[in-house]
Amino acid sequence: MKSLKLVAGLLASAALPSAASATDLEVTHWWTSGGEAAAVAEFAKAFDATGNKWVDGAIAGSGDTARPIMISRITGGDPMAATQFNHGLQARELVEAGLFRDLTDVATKENWAGLVNPPTLLENCTLDGKIYCVPVNIHSWQWLWLSNAAFEKAGVAVPANWNEFVAAAPALEAAGITPLAMGKQPWQQAGAFNVLMVGVGGPELFLKVYRDKDAEFAAGPEVAQVFKAADDARKMAAGANVQNWNEATAMVISDTAGGQIMGDWAQGEFQVAGETAGTDYTCLPGLGLHEVISTGGDAFYFPVLQDAEQSAAQEVLASVMMSPETQVAFNLKKGSLPVRGDVDLATANDCMQKGLKILADGGVIQSSDELIDPDSTTQINDLFAQFFSDMSITPEDAQKRFAELIAAAQ
């Protein structure tokens, strides 16, 4: 009951500002870390410049905390003007239930279909030929962030791929450095596993498991290799006593950990800390083995509103988010890649250039958010939460359970 009151209190405090003026738009999102907050401020600035007012509805915690609050507000009849979701299957049922407005007019007018690259991003926003969301960035999970100073201290060369990293782990440990920083939250642990699946196993293996949902293959010897790598990872991460992802990134920044498997949003943290790609830290897309990135990311959805002025302002916001200037400003701060193929990112750093090049070469796969529904994701997260914290679960047992979940996935 107390938690309900807490949620109700949060809702009440978030709902109050929306009543102030007609062209105030309340936008909810879960971007609260240093780098993320700096990025979202770019959206607010650009939208305020159009004469409207961005009312920030940041919800602290991760997306796992924020999404239930957003969904209950939308289904409970108190919608915000715009809200973040990861593009993919998270909001599909809400779209099917007609709770989000159709943005096809704006999209056709501005020719989004011709601009958005890769096109799968817009396809994920489309239902029955109508567009329901604005993709704003491309985030990829498949990155290994390494602290150059940590390896220097341990007296080994900065690894060029995952295998070298595993080989360097004993030297790091001898120097009192935790080889792998990993927050003890299920989404991070399952996320790291999926990265190992792409990096160690390769993109075909990843798609065969998550897209084709081939349970027999998931129980087979190729995937066993990935579980072997995950076993290495959990041993290397045993000394990391942190919860949140940015605390784990801070370990890499402060050189108390050798590296971290984390999506490119970690880049924002390095930037806020004033570190330079290449000299202070090294990034390896696809763990340096298979240079492929997934094209998940964030998208904004606009609930159906009764107020005509607010509805008009929603269209302005959608078009602001897609405009080339905002795309560049936002994504530079966020450390993510723009959704438009036609913008100039010459000021992007070393790591982002690597990402852009992979994107231009077409080395992309769909993210797991786009391939399996949140129900299966939760079950897989649960499995890896157990696997990474309980050393008595063998990789073989975990693989057997993983294959069962894949068989039941939709």
Partner: protein, 297 residues
């Protein structure tokens, strides 16, 4: 004639009946209606939004084969039994000590009851800091010179439940103590005098005379404490988030996460129906014994 002498029973105490209509409606519509709705929809494959596509016992089969649910049930059983026993023993001992006509009784009573005024979220956060190895007890003892001292219950999967228990007992014991104290004060002074005349030692008087006389107080305390245990959620979220791994998962958290995070209402409803069933299995025989018996007398 009959109408004049005996007014219709329906209109007796009319004011009181009208006044209780809102509560009756709330009970029927919100509690009973909501419960039935939940149980019915637990037999569907509802995802993010409820829908009436019935799938039989499929959600329950999945529930009882989910390792996380089984861990949750086991955790709740361990926590529940220990929390119940400890809060009763400690609560009664404190009450008995306060009952010795000591000085500053009000002060002590206030101190012991204060934790109950804090919500579980606040309790959980405070104890999370106290038990955190980098800021809390472990850090203090180590800075005093015992370098090898280790006390990090929340980071050790084997003992994390006891870490939760410390906070739960700290928060809940004061209430049990107050209820017990009220019960002790309700015991007639003559009982004590009679026991003293018969030369019965104090501890025996407590154990064999006073406690059996306090049965109603014990039952009230039992219901309050037990219902608090079954819905245990906020303490876990504030202190461990279910971790490390899944070592401190509880059923209420499973329900919440499957309903809202995993967007699988059917699974969440099935889990909450199981929680209801467990409570009903305990409550119905007790209510029958307690209230059914009296009516016959």
């Amino acid at each position: 004639m009959a109408d004049d002498t005996r007014p219709n029973r329906l209109f007796k105490n009319l004011n009181a009946k009208i006044a209780s209509i809102p509560m009756i409606l709330t009970a029927v519509v919100v509690f009973l209606g909501g419960t039935i709705w939940t149980v019915v929809y637990s037999f569907t494959d509802s995802k993010l939004l409820p829908r009436t596509n019935f799938v039989g016992f499929q959600q329950y089969e999945r529930l009882w084969s989910a390792p996380r649910w089984l861990i949750s049930i086991e955790n709740l059983a361990v926590y529940g039994v220990l929390a119940l026993i400890l809060s009763f023993v400690i609560g009664f001992l404190l009450a008995a000590l306060l009952d010795q006509k000591i000085r500053f009784e009000d002060t002590f009573r206030t101190i012991f009851l204060y934790p109950f005024a804090l919500s579980f979220v606040v309790t959980g956060l405070v104890w999370q800091w106290i038990l955190n190895p980098d800021f809390g007890i472990q850090h203090i003892v180590r800075s005093l010179g015992w370098e090898s001292f280790t006390f990090d219950p929340l980071y050790n999967a084997d003992v994390v439940l006891y870490g939760l228990l410390i906070a739960g007992i700290w928060q809940g014991t004061g209430l049990v103590m107050c209820l017990m104290l009220a019960g002790l004060r309700g015991i007639d002074e003559d009982v004590w005098k009679a026991a003293r005349v018969d030369g019965i030692p104090t501890w025996k008087t407590y154990l064999f005379i006073v406690i059996p006389m306090m049965r109603p107080v014990f039952i009230t305390a039992l219901v309050i404490v037990a219902s608090g245990i079954v819905k245990l959620y906020d303490l876990v979220v504030a202190m461990t988030g279910g971790g490390p791994g899944q070592a401190s998962e509880v059923p209420a958290k499973y329900v919440y996460e499957f309903m809202f995070r995993a967007q699988n209402l059917g699974q969440g409803f099935a889990a909450s129906s199981m929680m209801l069933l467990t409570v009903a299995i305990i409550l119905i025989p007790w209510a029958y014994l307690e209230f059914g018996g009296k009516r016959r007398v």
